[in-house]
């Protein structure tokens, strides 16, 4: 009797234990379903490898990954900023990957020096100004935003947002703590209103006359320009992009990217997926659908991106953003940046 029970137990456990089917790959993605699923479906069509997907907020997915540990089913972690990828690396849940395809395609500053994570698409955080109220020769750098001439004229979202945290992290790297603190204090004094809403809301507010400058990520503006909603198109038409720090280090950029997990049971498939995501087709898709800049050279940009023109990007290694993030948050707290 005992033997039968033991046997039954073992069989039952064997049945529910996750089978290592080679033709699938499990993805934890902080990129929203609408902005990743179409690509994953195409990957499945081309390779026959099934992709299982959970989307969520980066921090929470990272927590899930760390707590699941060596038994985690996830093979690939996708996030929308480099800071989180760096955090995943330091938490020990990623593993290095060395692939000539990836190394040849992705510029050095957009991937981890040791191959723990790879950038897949680039976005810049830029200053936009209301045409007719501001001329582009009035300011040139992020640093100028703290200048007293802009008192009550700037719209920017809250300091709880990772894109602002990364921007401040990059300023910390460039100018040091003291100067950045002074900058944040000045910035808070120049805000036209308490920070609220998302990036698109800042552009809308600028168009409605609340402020003359708005700090936004490029793809949000691109989405507004190409929106089905007439009001968004109208608002976006009232502002123009000013590429910051072109004489110096370049505009602050960040990447969406991915890393193969330490626990990956489908390592080969995960690497194939990574390589697929930097293929010419996929890279063109990012540009076309979400107005992000491809990491791959020679991929055609969308018309909107072409109109904005070439720009110089800050080539700071993006790991630094993750390292500076806690200090950036504290600094903004001290400045009273809501």
């Amino acid at each position: 009797m005992k033997k039968i029970i033991t046997l039954g137990l073992v069989l039952a456990l064997a049945a529910i234990a996750p089978q290592a089917i080679s033709s699938e790959v499990n993805v934890y993605s902080a990129r929203k379903e609408a902005l990743i699923k179409p690509l994953l479906d195409r990957f499945t069509d081309q390779t026959g490898i099934k992709v299982n997907l959970v989307t969520g907020k980066a921090d929470a997915l990272l927590k899930r990954l760390t707590s699941e540990g060596a038994n985690s089913p996830a093979d690939l972690l996708i996030t929308t900023d480099a800071g989180r990828l760096h955090r995943a690396k330091s938490a020990g849940v990623l593993q290095p990957v060395s692939s000539t395809t990836l190394n040849n395609t992705i510029p050095v500053s957009y991937r981890d020096p040791e191959g723990y994570w790879h950038g897949l698409s680039v976005r810049a955080r830029v200053i936009t100004y209301v045409k007719g109220k501001v001329t582009p020769d009035q300011l040139a750098r992020y640093e100028d935003l703290a200048d007293a001439t802009w008192k009550g004229r700037i719209c920017i979202r809250s300091s709880g947002n990772i894109y602002n945290q990364s921007l401040v992290a990059s300023l910390l790297e460039a100018n040091g703590e003291e100067a950045t603190q002074a900058w944040a204090n000045g910035m808070v004094g120049n805000m036209a209103r308490k920070p609220k809403g998302g990036d698109r809301d800042q552009v809308k507010a600028a168009a409605a006359g609340v402020c003359d400058l708005a700090v936004v990520n490029t793809y949000y503006l691109g989405a507004m320009i190409n929106s089905d909603d007439e009001k968004q198109r109208e608002a976006a038409a009232k502002v123009a992009i000013l590429w910051p720090n072109q004489e110096g280090r370049g505009a602050h950029v960040n990447v969406s990217g991915a890393g193969v997990t330490q626990s990956a049971k489908h390592r080969e498939e995960a690497i194939r997926l990574l390589e697929f995501l930097v293929s010419e087709d996929s890279q063109a898709w990012y540009a076309r659908v979400n107005h992000e800049y491809p990491v791959r050279e020679g991929v055609e940009w969308s018309d909107t991106l072409k109109q904005w023109g070439q720009f110089k990007a800050d080539n700071l290694n993006l790991s630094r953003l993750g390292i500076n993030n806690p200090e950036a948050v504290r600094l903004m707290d001290r400045a009273g940046w809501k």
Binding site: V10, K32, L61, S67, G160, G198, A223, R334
Partner: protein, 554 residues
């Protein structure tokens, strides 16, 4: 005599054991988080205290004050009007006033902002007509502390409405009539008799609304208001300090605990049972003239701003973006409704166990257990999710290494990343809802009924199934519905804990809305509302029915 006492104790042992076990299980996630707080948090606390802590505290308190005022004013007044007064449209308002409950607070916040923000159609039209520009005129700012209070009040007043209405419905006509014959007018009867009698129910509804307020993240985050919840997220994820974040969570919990205790203490030894049978239909004050207009205005105002306006806007957007409704929609709806229904049922069973157990064994241990099991409601969903993830992953991984060692097979993760983990998190978070409702219902049944039944030989379980359950039908349905709707709207825990390839309507709506694609998210948001309406109507009918049946039976 000692023999008899021992027998009673023995009969109650299973109840005691199951209550304590359930509590421990449900308290585990919160305890895990609290235990993180025991780690030294370093200088982060100093930093918080120097900079933002005062803001978190004052904003959270003010927000609670606003929501308390808002939900009490709307909830109690509409409940009284639809229960005790007669005016045109009453039958419609009776159920329609529950509709805002189906609306997630962050969705209503997005919608109102879309309409009334500086760049929205209302202000744009104003500027165009009057040829003004921004700054020339005053317009209330939606995205402010006051605005957040209004958004939360509009979606949370149904808790107060529902529970107060149930209490008013069950009130004895005789008591009210006695009050009138003693010279109290209708207003005095309301304030001096009906309202005090309904106090446990009103307070139960209010505390649900307030706990939901404290746990809200979506609305305050979108409005840029620093509260405890946003502070916890910032500290945990932005500053990467889980100890300080856990200590913030613990502070929040202590605060909730104090509030609960204060309320209990202020009630002390008061009891709120029926003093007579409710064998007569309610009086039904017929309203005329100004009173009639006033009643219609109050009820339709709540309905309009809490539901019709935002739902209308969502519908308008959904039609404009109808291509967003694709084949996956049916699956999303099935997932959502299935999860919500299953969780609601489980939560009801647990609530009955806890609520009745506490009545059966009125000891400190059981009543503390019941309080602790309900604490999860004030904790933000993500924090609970983390608290669920850690112990489950630990169990999975320990079992895995055990099986590897002894049988050479790997079991992998058996609980983590499954629906079991998700439902567990829902129960931790939402048990308070069904518990409050069941307790409020049980509180109105006199203890002497139990005693009579027991003295006639009924065992504790029989008293529950044969006496309490039939009497509690309204409360039980209320408990089911509240959890159902709450689970449908739940977002943060669902996001983190759900299995591969499994989405719900709330996830779909949130993903699009948080990508600032508000219009595209409207169809999913509307589907949540629609799926919530059906149980709302069912519930409302059965509450009314329960009273009618009572009236008929005599």
């Amino acid at each position: 005599m000692p023999g008899r006492n021992q027998r009673i104790t023995a009969a109650l042992l299973p109840w005691r054991v199951s209550i304590v076990t359930t509590t421990l299980l449900l308290a585990l996630p919160v305890l895990v988080v609290v235990s993180y707080g025991l780690l030294p948090a370093g200088e982060v606390w100093r930093h918080l205290a120097d900079t933002v802590l005062a803001d978190y505290v004052s904003n959270s308190l003010l927000l609670m004050l606003e929501v308390a005022t808002g939900t009490l004013l709307i909830g109690v007044s509409t409940a009284w009007l639809t229960t005790m007064c007669r005016f045109p449209g009453r039958a419609l308002f009776e159920w329609a006033l529950l509709l805002p409950m189906a609306m997630p607070a962050y969705i209503i916040a997005y919608t109102y902002t879309g309409m009334f923000d500086v760049a929205g159609p209302v202000q744009s039209a104003l500027r165009e007509w009057l040829d003004l520009s921004y700054g020339d005129y005053w317009f209330p700012e939606i995205r402010s502390l006051g605005g957040a209070g209004i958004m939360l009040s509009l979606t949370l007043y149904p808790y107060v409405y529902l529970l107060s209405r149930a209490a008013f419905l069950e009130q004895s006509v005789c008591v009210l009539e006695v009050s009138r014959t003693l010279g109290n007018g209708p207003w005095q009867t309301f304030f001096r008799v009906a309202l005090p009698l309904a106090r446990p129910a009103v307070v139960a509804g209010l505390s649900l609304a307030l706990m939901e307020t404290l746990a809200d993240y979506g609305t305050v985050q979108y409005f840029g208001i620093g509260t405890f919840t946003t502070g916890i997220f910032r500290t945990w994820f932005g500053m990467d300090d889980s100890a300080a974040a856990a200590q913030l969570s613990t502070t929040l919990l202590l605060f909730v605990f104090t509030l609960v205790l204060l309320e209990r203490w202020s009630r002390r030894r008061m009891r709120y049972h029926h003093s007579s049978q409710r064998h007569q239909s309610l009086p039904g004050f017929v309203l005329r003239g100004h009173q009639k207009m006033g009643a219609i205005l109050i009820c339709s105002g709540a309905l309009f701003f809490g539901f019709l306006l935002p739902a209308g806007q969502l519908l308008f957007w959904a039609i404009e973006t109808r291509n967003m409704i694709d084949s996956s929609f049916l699956q999303l709806t099935l997932n959502t409704v299935g999860l919500a229904a299953g969780t609601a049922l489980l939560a009801l069973l647990l609530a009955l166990l806890m609520g009745y157990g506490k009545r059966l064994i009125p000891e400190r241990l059981t009543s503390a257990s019941v309080r602790i099991a309900g604490m999860g409601y004030a904790v933000p969903g993500t924090v609970i999710a983390v608290g669920v993830m850690l112990p489950l992953a630990w169990i999975d991984n320990s079992l895995d290494s055990l099986m590897r060692e002894h049988f050479g097979i790997s079991t992998g993760l058996l609980l983590s990343g499954t629906l079991i983990a998700l439902v567990f998190a829902y129960l931790v978070r939402f048990l308070a809802v069904s518990l409050q409702t069941v307790e409020a219902g049980l509180g109105k049944i006199r203890q002497t009924i139990d005693e009579s039944a027991r003295s006639l030989g009924a065992r504790p379980g029989e008293v529950l199934t044969r006496i309490h359950l039939p009497m509690l039908k309204g409360s039980l349905l209320t408990a089911l519905l509240l959890v159902f709707v709450d689970v449908m709207k739940e977002l943060p825990a669902t996001l983190v804990l759900r299995p591969f390839n499994f989405n719900t309507l709330a996830v779909r709506a949130f993903e699009l809305a948080s990508d600032e694609r508000l219009m595209d998210s409207s169809s999913a948001a509307l589907a949540i509302v629609l799926a919530g309406i059906i149980p709302v109507i069912l519930l409302s009918r059965s509450i009314r029915h329960s009273r009618a049946q009572h009236d008929l039976s005599t």
